[in-house]
């Protein structure tokens, strides 16, 4: 056995010390942004460009409103650095579960956002004088209709028409309740603060939906499932998101997204920072990065939904812009019903209505 010489040992020591510092600084360098968001809101190429420009590693978890809230509630607002709940689902949840922290608007580059949307989102996500959301992506729910039944279906309640029996689909979720209420000539949003009145509205909607159940092929539960049903022609009319309708329209011009007579339902998805976010800095960097017009346009092209970014429209694919204009004329845009914040407690009531509809036969 040969003893290592003194100099080799010294060198080895130096080397390991160097390695130790390198790996130490390595861990501090490899920053991470854990983002929980919707499908299409963080396209691969956008993530790659962000990682390249900032050196921050982005981990994307795909989710939806309920799942996002459940996950953050389970950990008291930990596990993610940035979330994207819809603006009507922020305040009630924050009051109940305290899972977000206020937005520091001095760190958000509001110059590149549409002022009216910033204001609207601030108003609807305000709690005790603090704002909890920055607008990011918006869209509507309405009807996706095949041209063969276009003369029958022009509003949500038309999905119960016997002419489309067994060929319609919608979700068993709150947008359906709200949409049907509007189509039946009631205004659920105006009744948000009046529990009894809201309950009366929901009872009527419940009866309607139970009546309508035999007309429905299936209640869709995921976007891909719905698109498959429409693509194969098994479903001819459905209540769904505009972006899904436009992507189908690109494949088959007979399928179109229609804003219902009683008004499409408008939502804005926000950026909200979980209370125990471990990298707020990166979260703000991401917000300011993706809201640049060119980047935002790429998100629009990927998800089909338009963003709150100012001036992004000119970078959006032409056919998407055309499909959008075909679905929304000025009157339809003015008729969009924007979701106000949901007061706590209403969702429990709605949940029971939905359960009863699911169990009815």
């Amino acid at each position: 056995m040969i003893m290592p010489s003194r100099s080799t040992r010294n060198r080895a020591f130096l080397l390991s010390a160097a390695l130790a510092t390198a790996s130490f600084s390595g861990t501090t360098l490899a920053e991470e942004l854990r983002l929980i968001t919707w499908g299409g809101y963080a396209p691969d190429d956008v993530v790659a460009q962000f990682e390249e420009e900032t050196g921050i590693d982005v981990q994307v978890t795909l989710s939806n409103n309920e799942d996002m809230i459940s996950k953050l509630r389970a950990t008291g607002g930990a596990g993610f650095d940035l979330a994207q709940p819809s603006q009507d689902r922020v305040v009630g949840v924050q009051r109940q579960f305290n899972i977000y922290k206020p937005i520091d608007f001095s760190r958000v580059n509001t110059d590149q956002l549409q002022p009216s949307m910033v204001k609207a989102t601030q108003e609807s996500t305000e709690l005790d004088g603090k704002f909890y959301g920055v607008p990011s992506v918006w869209g509507t729910s309405g009807l996706i209709v095949h041209s063969s039944v276009a003369d029958i279906v022009s509003d949500y309640t038309d999905l119960c028409d016997s002419g489309v029996e067994g060929q319609v689909s919608y979700r068993l979720k709150r947008p359906t309740l709200i949409g049907f209420a509007f189509a039946m000539g009631m205004d659920p949003f105006a009744a948000y603060d009046n529990r009894d009145e809201y309950e009366t509205i929901m009872t009527k909607v419940e009866d309607k939906l139970i009546d309508c159940k035999s007309n429905v092929k299936t209640y869709w539960t995921g976007g891909d499932q719905l698109l498959a049903l429409l693509r194969t022609g098994e479903v001819k009319a459905a209540m769904a998101w505009d972006a899904g309708g436009w992507s189908l329209n690109a494949e088959n011009p007979d399928i179109r997204f229609v804003a219902p007579e009683s008004g499409a339902l408008g939502w804005i998805d926000t950026f909200a920072i979980p209370r125990r976010s471990e990298n707020e800095e990166a979260a703000y960097k991401w917000i300011n990065f993706v809201m640049q017009p060119e980047i935002a346009a790429r998100i629009t092209n990927a998800s089909g939904n338009f963003t709150a970014s100012k001036g992004a429209d000119e970078f959006v694919k032409a056919d998407l812009r055309d499909a959008y204009r075909e679905s929304f004329d000025d009157a339809a845009i003015n008729n969009i019903k924007w979701y106000p914040p949901v007061p706590p407690g209403l969702e429990t009531m709605e949940g029971q209505v939905l359960d009863r509809v699911q169990a009815a036969n």
Partner: protein
């Protein structure tokens, strides 16, 4: 000295098992039991109470789904037994040598794919634009597309398919050990096919039948994907309601109460099944 060493090694061997049981089974269930008795008074105060259990009995859709899930699970288990018995008989008694192994493998292969993939497989076959529908039309037996998905029959097909292997395996094991002479003696003494089956084969296979039934029943009762995906609008299944309470409604208290009730239901039915068939858990599982 010697006994203390062996006792120590016994405890060491038991440790992983005990950790598993306590940390992953016992503690979560106790926690769920605790949550199920909490009542949310306002957004940040909780009190003890039975409200969630009262809800279960006053809101008819909870217990209707509960009963429906139980009845359909029992029926599925029965159907699985009827289908699996001839298969197991053939594999255990009639097939010889290599074909035996191949048949067994054929039962096993579908389970290399996940439940989700198997369910989607059935959906491709059964849906309106699917394979069966187009075959029926090609043969001239149907005028237009036939929808076979999104009803109770589709759900039961999916569930039986998922449970089949877990019924076949214990049946093959018990039938394998049966002495051929017993069957022959039955016929020699003048018994017909029915009598021999009833008096000799079924009693012999009883431990296998009961253990297969218990496993299939538990799997079916706790199944989530198959009823939701294949049942569509009529999918009302109790596990789905539990999922909805936890995830969609943020109502952990109600979800926990429903979970506890499901646990009680399955335990009671298994206990009843053992009593009626005159088996004990030790005999069946050993």
């Amino acid at each position: 000295m010697r006994s203390s060493v062996s006792r120590l090694s016994l405890w060491l061997l038991l440790t992983p098992f005990l950790l598993w049981i306590v940390l992953l089974v016992l503690l979560p269930h106790l926690q769920m039991l605790r949550v199920s008795f909490l009542v949310r008074e306002s957004w940040d105060t909780l009190a003890w109470g039975f409200e969630q259990y009262q809800n279960f009995f006053t809101e008819s859709y909870y217990w209707r789904t509960f009963v429906r899930t139980g009845v359909m699970s029992l029926f599925t288990t029965f159907l699985t037994l009827i289908i699996a018995f001839p298969i197991a008989w053939y594999i255990a008694r009639l097939a010889r040598g290599r074909s035996k192994g191949i048949l067994f493998l054929a039962c096993l292969i579908p389970f290399w794919a996940s439940e989700l993939v198997r369910t989607y497989g059935w959906m491709i076959l059964l849906r309106e634009s699917g394979l069966f529908s187009s075959w029926l039309q090609a043969l001239g037996w149907a005028d237009g597309p036939v929808e076979m998905l999104y009803n109770d029959v589709a759900v039961i097909i999916g569930l039986v398919y998922n449970g089949l292997l877990f019924m076949v395996v214990p049946l093959v094991t018990t039938l394998d050990g049966m002495d051929e002479n017993l069957v022959e003696a039955g016929y020699d003494l003048g018994g017909g096919h029915g009598t021999v089956l009833r008096e000799i084969v079924v009693p012999w296979a009883m431990p296998g039948i009961v253990s297969g039934c218990i496993v299939v029943f538990m799997l079916t009762l706790g199944s989530y994907l198959t009823p939701v995906l294949m049942g569509g609008k009529d999918s009302a299944w109790f596990t789905e309601q539990i999922f909805t309470q936890f995830i969609t409604r943020f109502n952990w208290e109600q979800g926990a109460a429903l979970g506890v009730l499901l646990l009680i239901l399955s335990s009671v039915i298994v206990w009843l099944g053992l009593k009626i068939s005159g088996q004990s858990l030790r005999k069946v599982m050993g």
